[in-house]
């Protein structure tokens, strides 16, 4: 009887494998037809060209994988099972996403935000129900009353929750969903989703796995990748793909509206097109030595008694790069060093210190736009509070010491000499709180015994800080400096909001990300903007790499 049952099971498994093999052949052939349909000029007219090519490549890869799977399954090799699972899993995810898209779920999320806003008040009823429920816990000694409160609490919560769902538009949504489901296209997609699901099941089931000689290592690997897949798919769609796509864009003159030509590295050549010429004297006109229709003056300098001028095809890019580097070089220490000292102060056990910690952290969580607007007012040269307090201070000094300091009218944001500094101060102030919290966490990991031992050895506060605190904080310091540097090189919001027009006065606050934005969104040069983004990426990557290497040498941060 047992042998008969086993034999039946084997036959069943063989049949399942044969059906799955046929499915994979069908899938491969369908893939080829689909590719032809996508690439054919009159096929999918509504999707952009780049998307049709990417779709074709993806479907091509899946078709090849499907064919490989079918081929291996015929030979009853376990690689066939693995390939089948991968192909069907990807197919399931893609068709499920397509199904949701067709149902309007993704667009519906927008609507959700609005309907939730108007109905969220009803959720307070759920809280009320919960409170009633918890009151019951007070009556442990009278089980009937306890159960009564629990029951009432549950019903209150459920009733209010039902009202909340109805107010959120649940019924119209269900009706809409039902209507959408009836559409033949959605029905077909749902059918394909189910077929992919069945194909996965057919290969995942234990009898099939055993029949195809699966190993434990294979199972573990598949399970591992399965758990990893949500993150991996998200990474591929939202990070890896845009990254590769942006590089592709940087090789085109795309204007974001479908007008695009492949121009190779022309955008990069334009960015890095420089010209160095010797001048007859240091005041000679730039246009006498260089073609002004191509180059703009970037820099004049003297070397070995001779004057030179450096011209750039895109001088603003170099100016932006210089401003960004200056910003980074000054902002990082300004937001890290005070944070370190603040953290030391806040690490003490004085009453109310937690409030101060929260206060210092506030700028980090406040909206950059709001902060920038407030600082813009503070910086106002004519009616700003900063100049006002400086003036009050100077008046006081003048009256006490009979000096004659003039009124402070520092043009923080409207003068080239001070504008970048003003932005740096705001950024450093804003980042400092977060860095303080990081240092604080690091400080609390420093063993107290070391300080006690140092005290016994007669070390003073400064010596303790210098010899114990700082070395043991090296990992935190490294993290703070690296993240602050990356953040600093991407500065945008503060400049965009505080300077008017953004990047002014002159080009003194023009930063790389701002320049990127201007090219992409204001000048319709998405290709050029993408090239700038890649240059910035390389700069940030190089600086971070240097930081990692120098840190490795010290051995303070084990990476």
């Amino acid at each position: 009887m047992q042998v008969q049952k086993t034999h039946k099971s084997i036959n069943q498994t063989q049949l399942i494998i044969k059906v799955t093999t046929a499915w994979h052949f069908l899938l491969s052939i369908s893939g080829i037809f689909l590719i032809a349909y996508i690439i054919f000029p009159h096929g999918l007219k509504n999707i952009p060209v780049w998307l049709s090519y990417i779709s074709a490549i993806l479907i091509g890869l899946l078709s090849i994988g499907s064919f490989y799977s079918a081929f291996k399954l015929i030979k009853l090799q376990r690689q066939g099972r693995t390939a089948s699972l991968v192909v069907n899993y990807i197919g399931l995810v893609v068709t499920a996403l397509l199904f949701f898209q067709n149902l309007g779920i993704f667009l519906g999320v927008d609507a959700l935000a609005k309907t939730f806003g108007s109905s969220i008040g009803w959720l307070s009823g759920v809280l009320l129900g919960y409170l009633v429920y918890t009151i019951g816990d007070r009556y442990h000694y009278r089980i009937q009353i306890e159960e009564m409160f629990h029951k009432i609490g549950k019903y209150i919560a459920l009733i209010f929750f039902a009202i909340f769902l109805i107010k959120s538009g649940l019924f119209p949504a269900l009706i809409y969903l039902a209507k959408q489901m009836i559409l033949p296209s959605n029905f077909v997609i749902l059918f394909v989703v189910i077929v992919f699901g069945l194909a996965i099941w057919s290969m995942w089931r234990e009898p099939t796995a055993l029949y195809l000689n699966r190993t434990n290592a294979q199972t573990e690997a598949l399970e591992g990748y399965l758990f990893l897949s949500p993150n991996l798919i998200g990474f591929l769609i939202f990070f890896a793909f845009p990254l590769v796509f942006s590089f592709f864009i940087s090789l085109t003159d795309w204007d974001a509206f479908g007008n695009s030509n492949f121009i190779g590295l022309a955008n990069y050549f334009e960015l890095f097109k420089l010209n160095l010429k010797q001048l007859a004297n240091s005041t000679q006109d730039f246009f006498q030595v260089m073609d002004g229709s191509i180059f703009s003056e970037l820099l004049r300098f003297n070397m070995f008694g001779k004057s030179y001028v450096l011209g750039a095809a895109d001088a603003r890019f170099w100016i932006a790069l210089r401003n960004t580097l200056v910003f980074g070089i000054v902002t990082v220490p300004l937001s890290a060093i005070p944070a370190l000292f603040l953290a030391n102060i806040l690490n003490s056990k004085i009453p109310g210190m937690k409030i101060f910690r929260a206060i210092y952290f506030l700028p980090s969580i406040a909206a950059v736009v709001g902060i920038s607007l407030i600082w813009q007012w503070l910086y106002n040269a004519t009616i700003g509070y900063i100049n006002y307090f400086i003036t009050v201070g100077l008046d006081f000094i003048n009256s006490v010491f009979s000096t004659g300091y003039p009124q402070a009218q520092i043009r923080w944001l409207s003068e080239s000499r001070t504008a970048l500094l003003a932005i740096i101060i705001v950024s450093a102030w804003q980042t400092m709180g977060f860095n303080t919290v990081l240092f604080l966490a690091g400080l609390q990991n420093v063993p107290k015994e070391l300080y006690e031992a140092a005290t016994v050895d007669g070390a003073g506060r400064w010596a303790k800080f210098w010899k114990i605190t700082l070395p043991l904080l090296a990992p935190t310091t490294f993290f703070v400096i690296t993240t602050t540097t990356i953040q600093a090189f991407q500065v945008f919001e503060q400049v965009f909001i505080m300077t008017n027009p953004p990047g002014s006065p002159g080009t003194s606050t023009l930063t790389i990300v701002l320049y990127l934005y201007q090219n992409g969104f204001q000048r319709f040069q998405q290709g050029y903007a993408a090239a700038i983004a890649w240059v910035l990426f390389i700069v940030i990557f190089s600086v971070t790499l240097l930081q990692f290497r120098s840190q490795r040498k010290t051995g303070a941060y084990d990476v």
Binding site: K114, S293, T382, S414, N500, S504
Partner: protein
């Protein structure tokens, strides 16, 4: 709470969210928002019948009052357009500007059927095929005449880039126009003992010299008091250049005109205000806060600033037209236009909507808010505009765009890139007005650099 109850509720929440997300996208209702109360969840609309068309339209409002008026206008037009449902969208978001959102949506293919763009953007949008040429539809429309609108904007809106001729296309119709005036702090001017600029206008003596005289007298009141203030963009400095007889471009707008003697004369005078005489709020500083604080006598701004001044000024104020230079006021005629998305599926209905949005009646409703001047040269619309007081001297704005004062229409660059041109011109002018670049060096380099924005 028991584990089961918690799990149950969690599951229901997730399920409800997924189901709710399936609901059709909620659109802004066209009815005006009358209270700050949260808007009730819009009932998902039933599937439209075959004949019913939904048209989305968008324009950039400056404040909630304008959103309310545009919503009301949309509701009225919706009732008047048979078979068409209108959906008004204010555009922009908390984190992105109107233009950024619009361009992104055009790129994604989700932009509205009809939308507003600034005059300077028309060329970029038209040459890239993003907006519809409505010339053939306009020609077939009985009673439509492009001549009903100000000729300046219509020059650009009917320009055909392929033939380089005006009158051979129709990219849109102007929503409204605006112009500069000087917002006056009458208390400060009286305190300084200076002449009232409004009286000087009546006497025909409101010249650059008279303006400088008033500014100097006010500035003498204290080091934190200024005679003049303007914000740092192309509009204010363009006025002085225009007024001196200069222009940003050459005659056919195919090359830079910023180095002509006239343009240089205008900039030289403006530099005098900032650098030599120091009667102006330092260039690059926002002049509006000190004006509102009563520290600036003459604040140059457009009509769009009127609601703000009405709300915040705690002194006697009015407006006066700009002083005249060698070539008159040199004022700008600012404008933006309603255009039709090139990808709309309902071009005829969109064209009809554009016309209805620019009727004298519609413009009158919007002009009554006080922030815009009607783009249609209609007495009905002007009357609505003049009723909005203060300022008492609303006529100053209308005088600014009167033909007699030869205003220069803000315009796109058909032969080049306006954003590129602006990004070269702006920083160099700011260096001049900050005293970081001499006029001579500026004159030597400005057009060599600015001509890079033209397609040669």
């Amino acid at each position: 709470m028991s584990r089961k109850l918690f799990l149950g509720i969690s599951l229901i929440v997730i399920l409800a969210m997924v189901l709710s997300a399936c609901a059709p996208k909620v659109v802004e209702t066209a009815t005006p928002v009358e209270t700050a109360a949260p808007v009730e969840a819009a009932e998902p609309t039933a599937a439209p019948v075959a004949e019913e068309i939904t048209l989305r339209w968008r324009t950039r409002p400056d404040n909630q009052a304008e959103i309310d008026v545009y919503s009301a206008v949309s509701a009225d037009l919706d009732a008047a357009m048979e078979g068409v449902t209108l959906v008004y969208e204010p555009g922009g978001s908390e984190t992105s500007s109107y233009q950024d959102v619009l361009k992104t949506e055009i790129g994604a293919g989700t932009a509205p059927d009809v939308f507003w763009i600034p005059g300077t953007d028309v060329a970029d949008f038209a040459t890239r095929g993003l907006i519809l040429d409505m010339k053939s539809m306009a020609d077939a429309t009985e009673g439509f005449s492009a001549g009903d609108f100000y000729p300046g904007p219509m020059y650009h809106l009917t320009y055909n880039p392929e033939t380089s001729m005006t009158g051979e296309a129709l990219w849109g119709l102007p929503r409204d126009v605006s112009t500069f005036a000087l917002y006056l702090n009458l208390d400060l001017i009286a305190e300084a003992g200076a002449d009232d600029p409004r009286e000087l206008v009546k006497e025909g003596k409101w010249t650059w010299e008279a303006f400088l005289d008033v500014a100097k007298k006010v500035q003498a009141l204290g080091s934190d008091v200024y005679g003049y203030g303007a914000n740092a963009w192309w509009g204010p400095y363009g006025v002085w250049i225009n007024s001196a007889g200069g222009n940003f471009y050459n005659a056919d707008r195919t090359a830079c005109g910023l180095d002509t003697p006239e343009a240089i004369a205008g900039l030289t005078f403006e530099r005098q205000l900032y650098v030599e005489d120091k009667v102006a709020v330092p260039y690059g500083e926002d002049s509006e806060p000190p004006f509102m604080a009563g520290k600036v006598a003459m604040f140059q701004n457009g009509r769009w600033a009127t609601p703000g001044v009405r709300a915040n000024a705690n002194f006697n104020w009015d407006v006066v037209e700009l002083p005249t230079g060698a070539s008159g006021q040199g004022n700008w005629l600012f404008w933006g236009a309603y255009v039709v998305n090139a990808n709309t599926e309902h071009s005829e209905e969109a064209w009809k909507l554009v016309q209805m949005l620019t009727t004298a009646e519609t413009q009158g409703k919007i002009a009554a808010l006080g922030a815009n001047i009607p783009s249609r040269m209609s007495q009905e619309a002007f009357d609505a505009f003049l009723t909005f007081t203060p300022p008492a001297n609303n006529q100053a704005f209308l005088n600014g765009i009167a033909d007699a004062n030869k205003p220069t229409a803000e315009g796109p660059l058909w032969a080049g890139s306006w954003p590129n041109y602006d990004s070269i011109m702006g920083p160099m002018v700011s260096k001049v007005l900050n005293g970081e670049l001499t006029i001579e060096d500026y004159q030597k380099t400005i057009c060599v650099e600015a001509n890079k924005a033209f397609e040669h």
